[in-house]
């Protein structure tokens, strides 16, 4: 709707698309092949890595919106992941039968329901969080870190208070367990589902941010909220909705992560936060595409390195980040300076 360059009488220069980072993924996969050796192992590792990347992306996408576009460092993002995970209990409690039912339909419906409920819960809590915790500290990173860290501690404690401190095992729906086996290649079923959902979310976000002026408005609003208001946009309302969307996405990521780990702990969201930060920095703050590529990159490298030289697995994420930042100091797709 915003593409007014379409057929104006004045010939306007076109923006160029940057394909290079996208090529990085296949290049990396090909590079790893000779080192891995066995093609079937390579396929297994690659597919697993892609799927893990999708799950990381789901957890990180909300943060890239909130942190990358709105410039709010939300250390509490992790708790929304946990909260989304725990919200599955609201569904799994009454509908436990759907998980063990021998019907793919029911199993998937259960997953979908979990996702919807979790997104609703985290969205609402996100709205409250924004209102109570974050709003007074727009513009000051430092205070954001502290306040969201405080919010994180409080929320984690509340999870403890509500659901108890012990880890809670949750069942992965019957038909999503196990793996497809093709010869020597294995593909976990759940990871296939994760890929589907990840792609869906990615496409939806891309459309929303690139086909509407939403992304522009957010970025402009961060730089100069006064001016955006003077142009007639209600930036406050927009920011709240973005924050809510970011939280709901974290909730979605949390559900996916919960079923992957099959155990709930209040700290499970916080544990992935460093990874999530690394991913959005690699991607370029605020770039959904970058976050997507970054997630896959990190997960793939982790798998290849874990197979080829496990000693390095400990620092593979940081290594990837360092290399990417040396190549592109602003991340793969810098949103700010194109």
């Amino acid at each position: 709707m915003s593409d007014m360059t379409a057929d104006t009488a004045v010939e306007l220069p076109r923006a160029r698309t940057d394909w290079l980072p996208l090529l990085l993924v296949p290049a990396l996969a090909l590079l790893a092949l000779p080192f891995v050796g066995s093609p079937s192992t390579w396929v297994t590792l690659t597919v697993a890595g892609l799927a893990m990347g999708m799950m990381i992306f789901l957890m990180a996408s909300g943060l890239t919106l909130v942190f990358g576009l709105m410039d709010i460092i939300n250390f509490g993002h992790g708790v929304f992941i946990s909260l989304g995970a725990y919200a599955t209990l609201l569904v799994l409690g009454p509908l436990a039968g759907w998980a063990t039912a021998d019907s793919v339909g029911l199993n998937l419906a259960l997953l979908l329901l979990c996702i919807l409920v979790a997104m609703a819960v985290t969205g609402v809590v996100g709205a409250v969080f924004e209102r109570v915790i974050v709003r007074p500290v727009y513009g000051s990173h430092l205070k954001q870190i502290l306040v969201t860290m405080g919010g994180l501690i409080v929320a984690e404690q509340l999870i403890h208070a509500i659901w108890g401190a012990s880890p809670i095992p949750i069942p992965l729906p019957q038909s999503l367990r196990g793996a497809f086996v093709f010869g020597d290649i294995v593909m976990e079923r759940y990871r296939v589902v994760a890929v589907a959902i990840g792609l869906l979310v990615f496409i939806a976000m891309q459309l929303l941010l690139n086909r509407t002026r939403l992304g522009l408005l957010i970025r402009a609003g961060v730089e100069n909220p006064e001016m955006v208001e003077a142009l007639g946009y209600r930036i406050r309302r927009l920011f709240v909705s973005v924050f809510v969307a970011g939280s709901a996405l974290a909730g979605l990521g949390g559900v996916m992560w919960a079923f992957y780990r099959q155990t709930l702990t209040a700290g499970m969201g916080m544990e992935v936060m460093v990874l999530v930060f690394i991913v959005i920095i690699i991607g370029g703050l605020g770039s959904v595409g970058g976050c997507f590529v970054g997630s896959i990159l990190v997960a793939l490298v982790a798998n290849y390195v874990g197979f080829i030289e496990p000693k390095l697995a400990l620092i593979s994420n940081i290594l990837v980040m360092a290399l990417v930042l040396i190549w592109r100091p602003q991340g793969l797709f810098p949103v700010a300076r194109r």
């Binding site: 893990m52 401190a165 294995v186 780990r261 874990g306 197979f307 000693k311 697995a313």
Partner: protein, 374 residues
Amino acid sequence: QDIKIALIAGKTGPLEAYAKQTEAGFMMGLEYLTKGTMAVNGRKISVIVKDDQLKADLAKTLLEQAYNDDNVDLAVGTTSSAAALAMLPVAEENGKVLIVEPAVADAITGEKWNRFIFRTARNSTQDAYGAAAAVPASGDVSIATLAQDYAFGKDGVAALKNALAQIRPNAKVVFEEYAPQNATDFTASAQRIFDALKDKPGKKIINIIWAGQHPLPKIADLKPERFGIEIAPGGNILPAMQIYKNYPGMEGAVYYYYAFPKNAMNDWLVTEHQKRFNAPPDFFTAGGFAAASAAVTAIQKAGGTDPEKLIAAMEGMTFETPKGPMTFRKEDHQALQDMYHFKVKADGKDANDLLDLVGVIPADKMPIPVRNKR
């Protein structure tokens, strides 16, 4: 005058659940052993509970306070091994007894030990012997280990290798895989292990030595049975073991499971615990209970709380616990105790009905080396 006991545990932080169990077990133990009077030798017992938040420095400070400011007669703790290790010198400086529960590091009754230290908890080597004992005693057995890439994991693997050499010479560790401490994706590790094991003759087992979130389901989902590989998980607290349900038939060794020991103390514990907390007692509940038993038995035997008398009484002392009798070995004050060889049930009645007992591994079948210097 009251008998004062300090109980230090990591009550807040990621291991909150463990500390809760220890505390509950300890209090129930006192209650059972004093028949509800909470008094020994006519002296009332008061327990001061302190939270070290799993921090070593705080644990150390709290123990100092307990001995100096609160004047406790003896102390029990704590959840984290690092914190427990930091506490050891404090006991020596103050010349008072410290019963270590449930920290497992070997060094506590090994190189870092001093004569004021007693441990009711099992140590890592006992875990390793348990795991080794769960391995078949005859035929070729090839084992691959999966452990976390830091001192705890490395020591665990070394201990397992030792234990196997001692009691299961037919089994060999053929491959050691170390993954990052906070790893969540185990595809690469599993592939490496499969590659290492699949062409080996005889029984093939993956032994997992892991603290925290268990990688078991991730490995199991990759279908090791394709290559005839079995998984031997360690024991854990009940909520963590509930995942085992999905993989019936797995065998391993565990420190405590509520349905295994058959004795009056355990029967009382299981019924009472079920009544009060609506759940069976767990790993650390039993541990806390055992620590309480050690304390009460020692005070009764020593006829008071004089540290030297306590030490004299406790060396070589045998005391009852929900796991049956335990004995503080004279040399290093480690409580020697039974372990249990289990098999995961095919269909349990409820969420906590998980394990079948294959056999008790008696304490005297595990020749735990003495590692301290006296």
